[in-house]
């Protein structure tokens, strides 16, 4: 069946409501045709990744939409941009690139998007209901939206994300449809120790394993529900979406579409699962080793907060620092919503006093902030570990939050390997 647009959608695409929305509707319709969708689905919210400045072409696209009179038609949040808007000189960009990056932020705000500037929009008040049809971009936000909130989105890439927000519609394919949300692979962690699962550092490692082994199939994860806090699920999803194409996972007993394995699979698991993977300690150690790209122990800098730190994660950093000062550059990446909450609680000064550099509205792998140096970047984020080598030139070293803080305070690599023994 070929794509069929409703009379209203045909009017949009033909420009009867303006050339801006027509441009967006044509892009959404072309995407729907490519994906084999039969129709478009109305959406109730959007999250935009395309606001990050990559170069003049993306800026030209955004400003073209503004010039043509486009506005978003649903509540829409913005992912990070290339600038810390409170400290635009923090990124080592040329004056010309900084000016263009700033114009890009203005263009997306002019389209009617909320100036959230965070990759954790779901912790900045944007939480669509279970079953809601939405169009979200940014791979970690997509994984969280589908898996932890139970709202329905495909991985909307840059350019298509804003087109959907303006048109108020998305191609009705993939994870918008119930039958494509069912788990087809099972990761059974019932044999892994509870002690390991109770460590924050375990979750990005499980995510890297999931990303490598699940492919694009929704997977169910069994045996981890008792320790599955929201921030841990966020870290899991971010790593899984970086090391693979994971857009939806189910944690049996913890996430909204997986009260049981049967519910996650949409029927009898023995009939419906294509693969069962029994995860053991050796597989997890191998996945953890993949998160580091060097065996050397020289550390140039430490970075945490991909996805952006929640308030709880920022508080955990302050506790781990325990009044000490860092001796290495230490970057805490977070959103303005968390900075405001820390300030309201009188906790912001503690980070400044410790020598921690806050990176707000952006992050260290999307814009040049890290100091030059040939040592590694130590991080507790699976996503930073994946992207740091290509985007920053620094090799990646993976460790726990405690490893990150103790290393930064000592000025040399301190890692507790006991956890993985």
């Amino acid at each position: 069946m070929a794509l069929e647009l409703s009379p209203e959608e045909r009017d949009l695409a033909a420009g009867r409501r303006g050339e801006g929305v027509a441009t967006a509707a044509r892009i959404v319709a072309e995407a729907a045709r490519l994906l084999g969708a039969e129709r478009l689905v109305p959406i109730v919210s959007a999250h935009i990744d395309g606001c990050l400045y990559h170069g003049p072409a993306g800026l030209r696209f955004a400003e073209t939409l503004v010039e043509r009179g486009a506005r978003v038609s649903v509540p829409t949040t913005l992912n990070v941009g290339a600038l810390n808007l409170g400290r635009p000189d923090q990124a080592r960009l040329s004056a010309a690139a900084r000016a263009e990056a700033f114009r890009q932020t203005r263009a997306y705000e002019a389209l009617g998007c909320r100036a959230t500037w965070t990759c954790s929009p779901y912790q900045a008040g944007h939480r669509p209901a279970k079953g809601a049809q939405v169009a979200w971009g940014e791979s970690n936000a997509v994984a969280f939206c589908n898996s932890v909130l139970g709202a329905r989105t495909n991985r909307y890439g840059d350019l298509l994300d804003i087109a959907c927000a303006i048109a108020g519609r998305a191609p009705e394919t993939g994870l918008h449809k119930t039958e494509n949300r069912r788990a087809r692979a099972l990761f059974d962690l019932s044999g892994v120790s509870d002690r390991l699962k109770s460590e924050d550092a375990f979750w990005p490692v499980l995510g890297a394993l999931l990303g490598a082994r699940a492919g694009e199939r929704p997977a169910a994860i069994a045996g981890v529900a008792a320790a599955a806090t929201e921030d841990r699920l966020k870290a899991l999803g971010a790593a899984a979406a970086s090391f693979g194409s994971v857009a939806l996972f189910h944690v049996v007993g913890a996430t909204p579409e997986a009260a049981s394995l049967e519910e996650a699979c949409g029927g009898a698991p023995e009939d419906l699962l294509e693969e069962r993977i029994v995860v053991d300690a050796a597989m997890l150690r191998a996945a953890r080793d993949q998160l580091s790209t060097t065996a050397e122990d020289r550390v140039s800098a430490v970075a945490i907060g991909s996805p952006h730190l929640s308030l709880a994660e920022a508080e955990a950093l302050i506790e781990a620092l325990d009044g000490r000062r860092v001796a290495l550059p230490f970057y805490a990446n977070t959103g303005r919503h968390v900075v405001a909450a820390l300030e309201a609680r009188g906790r912001l000064a503690a980070l400044g006093a410790a020598g921690v550099t806050l990176v707000v509205d952006t992050c260290i792998v999307v814009t040049p902030i890290l100091p030059p140096g040939d040592g590694a970047l130590l991080t507790n984020s699976g996503k930073f570990a994946h992207y740091a080598p290509g985007n920053t030139g620094h090799a990646a070293l993976y460790g726990s939050l405690r490893d990150c803080v103790e290393t930064a305070v000592a000025g040399r690599l301190v890692r507790d390997e006991g956890l993985w023994a």
């Binding site: 044509r26 995407a31 490519l34 395309g50 990559h54 890439g157 840059d158 350019l159 298509l160």
Partner: protein
């Protein structure tokens, strides 16, 4: 010398010609490809150091970031895009770049869908990709490297 013709499915219509560059591992354009030069910059990737500009780029599987379309749009606008794309499946993230490029009046590469096994058998040669507006596409082998 092979004079083979391989049938594929058209995704984005048009014609393009260049030397095959086959990616032996999945790639995220964002992070994996430098948006200014088109060089594959992820040290973990088997084709690390290759440049995609002007090549017939065959990608059995895409992964990762939703910014891949933005990176490809920058390369297309700067004249450093691939000559054609051969994908082992439909990827709406990447393919939005040529769609938006054409909305902006830019020359954008065609794209075709070809099974990953068939991608694996493509010769290391100069290829011409011809994608019709509706459905059909053909990959012509012009000469071995």
């Amino acid at each position: 010398m092979s004079a083979g013709r391989i049938s594929a499915t058209s995704l984005v219509h048009g014609e393009g010609e260049g030397l095959l560059l086959r990616l032996d591992a999945p790639i995220s354009f964002w992070g994996g490809v430098d948006p200014a030069t088109g060089r594959i910059q992820s040290p973990r990737h088997p084709q690390y150091g290759e440049t995609i500009g002007g090549r017939v780029l065959a990608i059995p599987r895409l992964i990762g970031s939703s910014s891949s379309s933005a990176v490809l749009l920058e390369l297309i606008a700067a004249g450093r895009g691939p000559a054609a794309l051969i994908l082992g499946g439909v990827d709406a993230i990447l393919l939005i770049a040529p769609v938006v490029g054409r909305e902006l009046g830019l020359a954008a590469p065609p794209a075709v869908d070809l099974a990953p096994e068939a991608i694996a058998r493509l010769p290391e040669a100069r290829l011409r990709v011809v994608a019709q507006r509706e459905g059909a596409a053909e990959i012509r082998v012009l000469g071995e490297r």
